[in-house]
Assembly symmetry: C2
Homo-oligomer: 406 residues x 2
């Protein structure tokens, strides 16, 4: 089993880089702090005898040779970039759990048949540079390298420039292009495991997702001098959209989700009737057919609201990923890892997107979830217990050993 | 009758000071541009032989002597400060119509019994420094001078400092403290006159108003990994509040109004369930009893929404003015002014707050409305036709003459 204290100490040490006053972490992708985080990780990896390389989008790989070193590697890891008001665990847990697995093997002089590669994917969070999961997106061909490099932050700096500035433009050929398997440990970022008192989530796949940007246009006017019957209140249309989204999600339980997360009212003044509202809609479901039905109901709903209210409603799709089903062999390895060590567990579908979801398109993959307090993530208050962190790393150790062979 | 061309030219000339690219005006109270506007107005007034003074909050008075110069004056005017993206007419129309009335009397060598005073109230809009109607608020004792002077802009500059910087701290004793009557011409800022094809609104009073700031608190969480039944979505509570406000206003027609104008969602991110929503609520009604009933229904509604949703809902009152009924003599003078000149007109209740609404607490007062295109105001696109501008000034002339006596 892994050394849980050592893993916890590393988690806390990495969180020092970009530590926020409220106990969280702000270490966004491709910043100077990201460089410092990568350097610390590199030092730790090299101290374990791993050879560290990075590819053209900056994904960092650290290799532990195998008995058959020409075999495709088993890859384990996650990401170390954070949200602007992020926590200490999202991404870092999976990356440092991978390092802890490797150090445990070193300490025990265990040699695996296949090589092991630790990976830290570039820009999973997508905050400074969109889209999220940029590194795994380029790796799996969802996004071209040129497209990724051309993305700009709010100051007009491109991701390519930022990557060069921190010195992390590498060479693809130095890195593995084919994985025999990929395992990613992660905090759940949701409340299900905690709610049911389980230690390990055996992640069998991920919800498909469809995102929309919607704009409702009415006419801004004075709230005092405009009678009710002469108004074109964009906020009334927008609230009906919020309710339609909720209603559709409720009608597709237990696996459907529908959320309006971003919501901007213009001119947003106390005594002006809202003339325009922009909002985002996020639908998810584990089944492609159900997701399509939710989207169809939504589009009918928008038409009905526009027709009844006389408001102009425009919408466009901003993200569209089908449900993902992870590889059975990898899932079984995770489940056996949990069972063998007596951890309570349940199968779970990831509601959030992860690098593993992209990787699963090109290689056998699965994930290991541990509970996070109250399901809080993307928040400085994010927390997982030392016991659960250890448990997740132990399951990763067993599953990786099973896949890599001894 | 007035010289409509001259009045129009002055309106356009004043709008040059702070002109915006989109054809509007940004000349906020107590700025350098406000100083320039006041200076131009002062030059015009002095060219008409008026004596210009200002009081301790910077309200500007320009006096035309009367036959009985010790009698209390008839005061006519409005304000010349604008919204940040304001138009050319809001306030400036009433102020320059007053000047045009005085110049017309000068040109015709008409001497009134009572003195006439033109007034330009300080900071009616309340954008850089809250509250709105600051100058008339201090004049009528709604606000102490010390309180008004202590208000700060976003940079921490106080209104007192800004007033001193533009050189407009005057002496109360130099200005009239008692008015025999007050008349204010203004664009309607609403669609009623245009909708009914009327040229003049005989303003009989103003709606009472009650404003609330409401905060709905749930729990921010990941939109993908949080199942519907474990959510505490603040936006769902907020949308129910929007509907409750609408529903209450609809139930109090034709004079009730209810508006949610400001609406801020936090953290306002595409894949985060809203944890908090702050919103403003604006209720108005012409009858105090009805307004109280609307507010009572609203408070019951908030309780019901909190109880049903499990969300925490806090609210506080931020403004509270009773309905205002203008003086019958002043109203009649306005109505006769319109009738005598053959202008189509209707009685109207002002939905918006105005300096006249405050003045009416301490002196006989009324207002004259002219249509504004599509009811658009507080907007660079604000527009009134030259014909309506002339008509409004002509009604002001007749009504002021009637009140001041010849
Ligand atoms: N893990 C995670 O937060 N991914 C971001 C994309 C999503 O909303 O699922
Ligand atoms: N005239 C005007 O826009 N006043 C502002 C206060 C209000 O909302 O009525």
């Amino acid at each position: 089993t892994v050394d849980g204290d050592r893993l916890w100490r590393r988690l806390m040490a990495l969180a020092e880089i970009g530590a926020t006053p409220k106990g969280g972490c702000d270490r966004q992708a491709l910043t100077e702090l990201d460089r410092q985080g990568r350097e610390l990780l590199t030092r730790w990896c090299e101290a374990q005898g791993l050879s560290v390389r990075f590819d053209a989008i900056g994904n960092l790989f650290a290799r532990r040779t195998g008995a058959d070193d020409s075999a495709d590697p088993i890859v384990i890891g996650s990401h170390i970039d954070t949200q602007p008001t992020g926590g200490k665990f999202d991404g870092c847990f999976g990356t440092l759990a991978a390092l802890e697995v490797i150090q445990t093997l070193n300490d025990s002089n265990i040699r695996t048949a296949r090589p092991l590669e630790l990976v830290a994917w570039t820009n999973e969070e997508g905050c400074r540079f969109s889209p999220c999961m940029m590194g795994s997106g380029v790796f799996t061909g969802k996004l071209t390298l040129a497209d990724a490099h051309s993305r700009t932050d709010t100051k007009g700096v491109t991701a390519g420039e930022a990557l060069e500035a921190i010195g992390y433009v590498g060479v693809d050929a130095d890195c593995p292009r084919r994985f025999a398997g990929y395992l990613e440990a992660h905090i759940e970022q949701g409340p299900i495991l905690e709610d049911e008192g389980k230690t390990i989530g055996v992640v069998t796949g991920a919800l498909g997702l469809k995102w929309f940007d919607v704009t409702v246009t009415g006419m801004a006017a004075h709230s005092g001098s405009t009678p009710m019957h002469l108004r074109h209140n964009a906020l009334l249309g927008a609230t009906r959209i919020v309710e339609t989204v909720e209603c559709i999600a409720q009608a597709h339980q237990p696996d459907g989700r529908g959320t309006v997360g971003a919501f901007q009212v213009s001119p947003n003044s106390r005594n002006v009737i809202p003339g325009e509202v922009s909002l985002s809609v996020d639908f998810r479901h584990s089944e492609g057919r159900e997701l399509a039905a939710m989207v169809a109901a939504f589009e009918r709903g928008l038409e009905a609201i526009a027709a009844e209210s006389g408001l102009e409603i425009g919408s466009r799709i901003t993200a569209d990923y089908p449900p993902q089903h992870f590889d059975t062999t990898c899932i079984d390895a995770v489940r056996r890892g949990a069972t063998a060590q007596g951890y309570s567990h349940r199968d779970i579908v990831s509601g959030a997107g992860h690098d593993a979801v992209f990787v699963s398109d090109v290689a056998p993959a699965a994930m290991i979830f541990i509970p996070c307090e109250k399901g809080i993530s993307h928040n400085e208050a994010e927390y997982a217990t030392p016991e659960d962190v250890s448990a997740g790393a132990n399951v990763l150790l067993r599953a990786a050993l099973e896949l890599a062979g001894v």
